[in-house]
Symmetry: C2
Subunit: 676 residues, 2 copies
């Protein structure tokens, strides 16, 4: 019996629960068999875990966006058929959906896709990433709870469950995320490890022999080990996990992959290919299961009819609590509603005044100022750095909650991610998925390499994650090639749906942040300079708000029709303006455009784009401290690119710039040799 | 006293050793101060560790490529000044080099750069990666030892040392690599953890509170904890580590960052900025050290004069052993010399016969055939997959040593990397750095995201690492967007010096492998199809060896001057040929080019490149199952690109292809709408 407030949920008998497990087992295997594609092993092995989870999870089967629902992340996303079977019993999916498993356009794609299937809390497939997202979600829950709950009202108190396999736990991201979760003492985070001992290459004894329990224990987790087919033991383990509110829990559930399959259980061959018609029939027979496809026993159907009613009742109770909360704590509740809806506070844009030209700013320092100004009025802006806080300058010291989040101290907004870029990226995505926040991360641009999969997932899921990257060029200087981005702007721009900002000065940085915050359908990367840059004089040049267009004419030609168009991004705009002066001294008519975001530019109306890149203006000079990839379309057949083709060098920034041809003199020479 | 064969090395007195430590301490701090840039904290804190290491390391100060030297990887590459101080005492660097620390063109760049500084065994800076490379090196040593040592001759028996800090150990790569090393039981791998408890953001108690010793223990390492300033204790710990040949050893050396600095010791402020002239003077005074810059006590100088003599004597002894070995085991020794020189065996190219057209091959299956044929004649070709062996098809079942490497079983050539892509990439680089092998890795193309930093390091270090990536397009099908590469070919091509191959059929795959093996100055990525592809009929089309040129005319125009040039890579060439047929039916003259490697093409003579991309032939149609980035320069102002702009879809491969416009009909429609 499971109590939730005053609502009493029925615990099914062991027999019924086992029938539920077998329902999940064979619904999953049937999906894979029907599609003739997919992974039956884990779903069949983890069916008992899933059945118990269905008795524990608190959800609203009519509202998969209910903010206080328990989150469930299937980190081993290849077991998607199991998740879909669960969602079917929960009421989110129809039997028809299961029959369309892995078909184009279905709600049951090969791996769980956030936004494509109701009830799916995260896209998973890249192994281990789900654990990182779960850590972010569990932290988000705690910050919301500590910020919005009151002594009488716990409006936020859900659990975050994650089901992971051997593959997930071999990935570095899993260690990073678990180490962080243990440090933060995320008591409402419960990971169930489907320990079937099998991965694609065979038994994990060939490569993964660490003591996983001892490892989790070393990281500060409660470790519980059970037979993953013992329904009562799994249930008790989850209860024990929920009881310990000071530590995350790691339940090692020893399972047999493809349990029920007479000839493939316990074998790697069951991992990623359908059982085959005969073997599936044999499995059903062995477990006294009707041979028919997609069989749903009437008692299981009846139980979930009741269960859905209980879920709804629970949601209604929460609604009642919430309306009382709303009456007692009106403004707090209004704020909570706002942040959960992802809406920015009114007049937030007024928080940041324009930067004057009297002082030079690195864009990272400007960025730090901006998030502090924004942070004062946008409490839901939270984030941190992968141990580069004093370099990224991303600490928010403003607002009501300027502390660093730590164990038992969740009223903060800053996070020490440690040197864990990948976990940081997944964490930020988990926070964005959870809702209630606009999360950001920060590290050096070159180290986005360590978290690239998280950027891709943010883009795929269309999350409002903001990724700050400072030290955005060889102007890093002395730290040398390992720290100097070369291919990184191109590599970021390559990711579909990601908006990549590289502001030219402090004021462009304001608008880059504004665009990132206003964007509701995808993530943004904001790439900032280490070195100081003059603040562009907007009395003489175009207005800074033009930044939002992604590319704009910063300085039009002075007289006559423009003969040369110079385009640059970020810090390189200052070299562009200097080159323009030198070219004008040669009597040429030069136009200079700033290109802080090529993706935003591509979204402008065709007329605007053509105006910026007129067909007749073929002498185009692009300057960017990176590779040409991504610029060639703009350069066209006659353009000149001032950039890099190889790695950088360790040396004083100015010396490196000189060596790489980032001087006005070198640019003029390039033009002289070009045949323009 | 340290015995090496019959040579007896002198152990310095405690006083002299402490003086050596202080020499390292202040030479390092002086470098940083002189450069006014760098990281004095770790060098000053780890000076005692480094001093003891200098008494343990077995090197040849006149030959930093001696194959049996102990390897030393400074994983925390920001402590480069400490490494340079060590290399100065070893005799690889001059005092003048230390004075030019971090200056453009010096031998002492900001982070250790392999190839730029004698005695540097790996480029480090991206944290944790050094650990992964060390694991690869230590494995390479064992495989060579088990393959080439004989009962009387241990020609290969060195140790691999790695010095890592808190930052390294927070990174996911460190866990992956340590888990693998523990599994393999790499007894000659010794990691010293400079546990100073400080990272850039402050004390690690803010974020990194796991029990690091328990973690290493859980992974199968011997764990030893010492005071990192106690010279005798460090020495004993290293001896204990060397004595345990069945497990890697993890020495936790508790240190004080910036030890010796009166006001900055133990503080994060010492991590990444010079101490300042006054503080450095105060530090020297506090340790009774002369105030002069770059002071080298005469007794330390004298000791290392003797030490270098001992090192040379040891090398000479090894040389003698090696010549006896050569006499007794002539052919084995010749083989060892060959593999250490990185030279391929004679006639190796004959091992692979051309594939006939009677059978369709996925290029991954062809790749599997090819490495098996090559593996039969190239014993130094070793590698494996990140738990996708049956999908990547990279197991070598041929040759004398077709086993999987495992603990105590190092005579193999296949590796089970586990689901550890990043460690795999670093491991492969470590093997390449070690010498004696041509290593390869394998995973799905989309998961190169997890190991991108390793690709960059391989390129930066110009290693002959081969990265196999199968499942190279949306033709993955049902697994859906998380498994379908979109931006990945572009992202790979973005990395300077990396050659990215995407062969069109089985025979192009032969030449892709040939190019990768013959390339001595950088890594190659080989991207292969999941789906079967016809073998192109070379009686009718251009010869497959043209592949080596990176781009070649596969099928010239049939009659008249070519009006349309179609270029495609990999599997998409087959669609290109079909489109050409359809266009010819419209009476157009079409030329089709295969572009398996744009980087190899860029290295061709200008005349060849112009011939392939004639200025007059502006109607260029490029087909590639990826983004346009990287192709725009070839497309020019009039080209049409058939590719992707967004993520893929889960569905049957043919259905996904249809949806994404990868059909002849869709291509014709695109042309019709183009205004060509």
């Amino acid at each position: 019996m499971e109590e939730i407030g005053s609502i009493v949920l029925q615990t099914p008998s062991g027999e019924l629960l086992q029938k539920t497990a077998d329902t999940l087992r064979f619904l999953s295997a049937d999906q894979v068999q029907r599609a003739n594609s997919g992974h039956p092993g884990m779903p069949m092995g983890a069916a008992e875990i899933a059945a118990v989870l269905l008795t524990k999870l608190k959800i609203d089967p009519r509202d998969d966006k209910w903010p206080n629902r328990d989150r469930f992340i299937l980190s081993g996303g290849h077991a998607s058929s199991l998740l879909y079977s669960m969602l079917f019993l929960q009421g989110f999916l129809e039997l028809e959906d299961l029959k369309n498993f892995r078909q184009l356009g279905s709600r049951t794609p090969g791996h769980p896709e956030y936004g494509q299937t109701p009830g799916v809390d995260a896209s998973t497939g890249p192994l281990g990433s789900g654990i990182g997202m779960a850590v972010g979600m569990a932290t988000a829950e705690r910050i919301l709870a500590d910020t919005y709950n009151t002594p009488k009202f716990d409006v936020m108190d859900h659990f975050t469950y994650v089901l992971a396999g051997d593959g997930c736990l071999m990935e570095g991201i899993s260690y990073e995320a678990m180490s962080l979760a243990g440090h933060l003492g995320l008591g409402r985070l419960i990971m169930i490890y489907d320990a079937n001992g099998i991965s694609i290459d065979g038994g994990i004894d060939t490569t993964f022999t660490e003591n996983v329990g001892a490892r989790a224990n070393a990281m500060g987790w409660q470790v519980i080990e059970v037979d993953g087919h013992d329904l009562a033991a799994i249930s008790e383990a989850i209860d024990q996990a929920r009881d310990d509110k000071s530590r995350p829990s790691f339940i090692i559930a020893r399972t047999v992959i493809a349990r029920g399959s007479p000839n493939k259980a316990g074998k790697a061959s069951s991992h990623g290919a359908p059982l085959g018609v005969e073997e599936l029939a044999a499995a059903k027979a062995a477990r006294n299961w009707p041979a028919e496809d997609f069989h749903l026993p009437s008692e299981v159907a009846a139980y979930f009819d009741v269960r859905r009613g209980e879920w709804l009742a629970f949601r209604q109770e929460w609604n009642q609590v919430f309306s009382q909360y709303e009456k007692k704590h009106h403004s707090l509740c209004r704020e909570l509603r706002r942040v959960l809806a992802g809406e920015l506070p009114k007049q937030w844009k007024n928080a940041v005044a324009a930067f004057g030209t009297e002082k030079a700013w690195s864009t990272r320092a400007a960025g730090g100022q901006i998030i502090n100004r924004l942070g004062a009025v946008i409490p839901e802006l939270i984030g941190g750095s992968a141990d580069l806080t004093p370099a990224n300058l991303t600490e928010i010291k403003s607002g009501n909650n300027p502390e660093f989040v730590n164990k038992g101290l969740f009223q903060g907004r800053n996070l020490h991610f440690g040197v864990r870029e990948h976990a940081m990226g997944c964490f930020v995505n988990g926070v964005a998925l959870h809702g209630g926040f606009i999360p950001f991360s920060a590290t050096f641009l070159v180290f986005h390499d360590y978290m690239r999969s998280a950027l891709r997932l943010a883009s795929l899921m269309r999350l409002r994650s903001v990724f700050v990257y400072t030290h955005d060029s060889f102007m890093v200087g002395e730290d040398g090639p390992t720290h100097q981005p070369v291919e990184h702007l191109a590599a970021l721009r390559a990711i579909p749906r990601l908006h990549v900002w590289r502001p030219a000065d402090a004021n462009e940085t304001i608008y880059a942040w504004q665009a990132a915050l206003e964007r509701r359908d995808g993530p943004s990367a904001i790439c900032l300079s280490r070195q100081e840059l003059p603040v562009l004089d907007r009395t003489r040049l175009a207005q800074a708000r033009e930044t939002l267009k992604g590319m704009y004419i910063l300085e039009p030609e002075k007289e006559g029709q423009a003969e040369i168009l110079i385009i640059a991004s970020g810090a390189d705009i200052h070299l562009a303006l200097a080159a323009a002066v030198a070219l004008r001294e040669r009597g040429l008519s030069v136009r200079t455009a700033s290109a802080p975001c090529l993706e935003a530019f591509k979204l402008q109306a065709e007329g605007y784009r053509k105006k910026l890149l007129p067909r007749r203006l073929r002498k185009r000079l692009v300057i960017e401290a990176g590779i040409v990839q991504g610029w060639e379309g703009i350069l066209g057949d006659s353009g000149i690119f001032i950039g890099l083709e190889d790695f950088g060098h360790s040396g004083k920034p100015a010396a490196v710039a000189e060596k790489l041809g980032f001087t006005t003199a070198a640019i003029l020479e390039r033009i002289d040799c070009s045949g323009w």
